[in-house]
Symmetry: C2
Subunit: 369 residues, 2 copies
DNA sequence: CTGAAAGCGCTTACAG
DNA sequence: CTGAAAGCGCTTACAG
């Protein structure tokens, strides 16, 4: 085999490779490719594309037309590299066993998109192999502009990592520690509202189904309940853990309602737990609310379903998100700002899972509500 | 005001600006800063950090230690720019009114993280200001390595955009059009299974509550039902739209069950709709399943709740995701691959919302199931 | 085993 | 109003 042939073969291979490479790497239009097509410098193309006032309207139009025709989309990475802003905001969540977080995440998502940020959801799976690092690494590597933490587990460690890297962060449905920001529903006030409602309805044996261990949300709601009961010289009949899950609520309800001294009202730390309690009651042949009143916290979708029509405290999700995003925006602008701890009052939503005080009537049925 | 003063002021301002800039831009460690600290070239640092075999163990250890101590996290954007791979996979979803998609998204999320990809969720809000562009732009700008489409609306337009940009894409819970990939539950077979179950249980007046207009999922499930009924010389008593929502199911159930010729069984196009139908039945004073059997499709969490215990067809979500990710991975490796349309059989989950054929017994109650 | 150089696709002072 | 040049933080042939 002489050189000529070899040379030819190599060249052919090379060309073929180039071709497939070109095909498979689908060379996208760039500022540079557009600049050649348009006959302007890359600087001008870049400016024209982002509507810089200094570029003449004519030039702008020409360039815009070519970009459009080429299907140009700016490379976010190249841009982020120089602007030092990724446009990404991390949302840290637990597993979505509790629908409340799913609903919260959906609202958050929508609101972030509205202000031009892209949310990146980071979930932490307890029990899985994932570690704290697994959620912090993407936050760091993708240089998120900010971070919203709405998970119960490892909140503090992620928060601390954010602080260490001076990354703007705000917690939602959590209370602040150290110098961090947090916005939450006023859980204590909510607990009081529920306690007062039950007392006024004449309940004498009121029990509490708590959430996950050591979550301040559950503790604060319980404290509120206790406070309301103390005012009339009483205290909860019993407290059983419900783990913030349907199954947990079911088991807790079963236990409480099988006792000799059976509660005539149960306040569950959140809605999904309350639904479990309701079903436990019914499975024991008890009527809700005739035999036992049951109240939740959150106001998830399912709380409105006709099989439950759960009386509950609605978290002011919209207001919470508004405040959280405002805090975050401030801190993205000035990272040195102090932490703030905000709590917003929830609203009692009277449905039919709890007996009413004689002076109250249920919120009128409007359609399916 | 003379020059000196002006000059001083300008300088002071400038310094102040520099300081705050420095503070607020929290200079992160880079390959370059580490290379100086370690006394090696950036090339070596880069290789050491990613475990290139050519770097000596000693060098690697030195560099790793410094990186660790500095809290170094590689900049994903710089890396993406040169590797031409972002590590991001887009998940396109509708609003999460249907919990099935929330559960699907959670599983998908987990599985993607397991294979080292970061999911970015893109939701399309019907009725909101968002357009098709709003979901396509981030996919393009953030140069997603691939895309999973699990939304009913605008599926085809996003799919088309992906194709145009030669971006690997697979649809899930959808059927493929053109050259695209899709994996879904075998909805037709599922419909047949439900139809046969109801026929064998002796139901004579079987109605169908359909989903959203023009969704193949709903149509296929209905076709399956029709097929099973035709085999015994019958056809559905009526078909009413349920819009794939709880409220839609409730309204549809109310309508069907108020008719003079009342159905004795209703198959709803999905679970969330079926729950609405159940509640409508109960509100009309009917017993489920004594007066009317109700069957759903999906097997969402709430289908297991004791107030419903919904008989349904479980979508093989794990298997669907496995196949979808495999298809996607193949296409990320070779974008020229043909489209494939995969359907996996679902599984009938017998609970207690539907009467049983005499030869069958319900799946035994194990704990809360 | 290690390094110098080029380049990924943008933006942004600086200069004209 | 427009352009040349430098640089964001990496990786990767190429060379030794």
């Amino acid at each position: 085999m002489h050189n000529g042939l070899l040379g030819t073969k190599k060249t052919a291979d090379h060309m073929k490779e180039k071709l497939t490479r070109q095909a498979s790497s689908r060379a996208l239009p760039t500022v540079s490719s557009i600049s050649k097509l348009a006959g302007f410098s890359p600087s001008t193309v870049s400016r024209a594309l982002k509507g810089d006032a200094r570029i003449s309207e004519k030039t702008r139009a020409t360039i815009a037309a070519i970009a459009q025709e080429q299907g140009y989309a700016p490379n976010a990475y190249a841009r982020s590299l120089v602007t030092q802003s990724s446009g990404l905001v991390g949302i840290v969540l637990d597993r979505l066993a509790n629908p409340f977080y799913g609903e919260l995440a959906e609202h958050l998502h929508k609101r972030l998109v509205e202000i031009g940020k892209y949310p990146m959801i980071l979930r932490f799976d307890e029990g899985a192999l994932e570690t704290e690092e697994d959620v912090i690494q993407p936050i760091l590597q993708y240089r998120m502009d900010g971070c919203i933490i709405a998970s119960a587990s490892l909140t503090s460690r992620v928060a601390e990592a954010c602080a260490r890297h001076r990354l703007p962060m705000v917690m939602i449905n959590r209370v602040a520690r150290a110098h961090s920001c947090a916005v939450s529903c006023n859980n204590y006030r909510g607990g009081i509202m529920v306690g007062e409602l039950l007392v006024e309805a004449g309940h004498m044996r009121i029990a509490y189904v708590s959430g996950r261990q050591d979550t301040s949300t559950s503790e604060d709601r319980e404290s509120g309940l206790r406070h309301a009961l103390q005012k009339v010289g009483r205290e909860p009949l019993g407290v059983v853990r419900g783990h913030y899950t349907y199954d947990g609520g079911y088991a807790a309800g079963r236990e409480l309602l099988s006792r000799r001294k059976r509660p005539d009202a149960i306040f569950a730390a959140n809605d999904i737990t309350a639904l479990g309690v309701i079903d436990a009651a019914r499975n024991l042949g008890l009527s809700v609310p005739n035999d036992v009143s049951i109240v939740g916290f959150d106001d998830i979708q399912a709380a409105r379903w006709h099989s439950y029509r759960l009386t509950t405290v609605a978290q002011p999700v919209d207001a919470m998100i508004t405040r959280a995003l405002a805090l975050l925006a401030e801190r993205m602008h000035n990272p040195e700002l102090e932490g703030e701890d905000i709590s917003i009052q929830g609203e009692l939503r009277i449905r039919s899972s709890a007996r009413l005080p004689t002076h109250m009537t249920a919120t009128p049925l409007s359609g399916l509500e």
